[in-house]
């Protein structure tokens, strides 16, 4: 974050090129994130293809209402994040602050619901390990499903926590009047990150909550 409003680092021709480099670099990072999440998604696909029935039964133990609620919350947080980027680029400081606060509130709500769901799984002995208890058939496959559930939603939640940290940073910078039409790159980059985390959930929700509902 060496550059400030109106300044172009010496190795760039102009502000346009500097901005292009920032967003390209952020996208390269997000591509590595696609690979990171891709590994567990692939593991899910492989085991789901082998134990389709057990995965469908295990999926019934997730609460679709809470999953749908969290999906709506996360999509709404993407909207407020997009509005924050808009507010930063047109220089509306108050709108930017409120959009960032709204995004943090929605992100916090998502994590709160997730914590409640996790607690419920512990209570029902659905956490893989010594305490795992499964009444139906194919217990090892069901345990596998919950293993994938906790790893996938866990690394997703970790990304949300990091996102909340980045949003806090943006709020602090905004209070010092850092962003405006001349320079809003950090807001845009955090926006890209936040939307990516939303996309991960867009796939997690049907794969974990909705399979085998019919």
């Amino acid at each position: 974050m060496a550059s400030r409003a109106g300044q172009v680092a010496h190795h760039f021709d102009d502000a346009e090129q500097q901005h292009e480099a920032s967003s390209l670099g952020m996208w390269l990072f997000l591509v590595t994130e696609v690979m990171f999440f891709g590994g567990v998604f692939l593991a899910y696909v492989v085991y789901r293809s082998r134990f389709a029935t057990a995965f469908a039964h295990a999926s019934h133990h997730l609460d679709v209402r809470l999953g749908t609620f969290n999906t709506v919350v996360l999509i709404a947080s993407s909207l407020t994040m997009a509005l924050a980027v808009w507010a930063a680029t047109v220089g509306r400081r108050r709108a930017l602050l409120w959009s960032l606060f709204a995004t943090m509130l929605l992100g916090g709500t998502f994590l709160g619901v997730k914590a409640y769901e996790y607690a419920h799984k512990f209570h029902e002995h659905l956490v893989p390990g010594a305490g795992f208890h499964w009444a139906g058939p194919e217990a090892p496959a069901a345990e596998l499903f919950f293993g994938l559930y906790f790893v996938m939603t866990g690394i997703h939640a970790l990304h949300m926590v990091i996102g909340l940290g980045l949003l806090t940073y943006l709020v602090l910078r905004t209070r010092r009047d850092a962003f405006g039409p001349a320079w809003s790159t950090p807001v845009e980059m955090v926006g890209l990150y936040w939307h990516f985390v939303d996309i991960v959930w867009i796939f997690l929700f049907p794969l974990l909550y909705l399979i085998g509902r019919h």
């Binding site: 999509i75 709404a76 019919h214």
Partner: protein, 92 residues
């Protein structure tokens, strides 16, 4: 160019479409379509992801180089899944 200002109206419209698609995918999950359930579910998720990438993440307005990087990431993931499944699903 890459530094466009997208109006809030566009964001709200995309948000509404994303909510509608979430409602559709949840409703369809309760209808038995056999193998098609997974196909419909994933198709809707892909459409939602593409909308987020194109509009919320501004890729629609980005340079060709950015397009290439974004596409390569997802194509590579597709290869990973394709080749792994071609092995796993054909074992006897």
């Amino acid at each position: 160019m890459s530094h466009v200002v997208v109006r809030p109206r566009v964001y709200v419209a995309i948000f509404a479409v994303l909510l509608a698609l979430t409602a559709v995918t949840t409703a369809v999950a309760y209808v038995d379509l056999g193998l098609m359930n997974v196909v419909v579910m994933l198709a809707i998720a892909v459409v939602k992801a593409v909308l987020v990438i194109l509009f919320f993440m501004h890729v629609r307005y980005a340079s060709r180089l950015t397009w290439l990087v974004v596409a390569s990431g997802f194509v590579w993931f597709g290869l990973l899944v394709l080749f792994t499944l071609s092995d796993v699903l054909t074992r006897s």
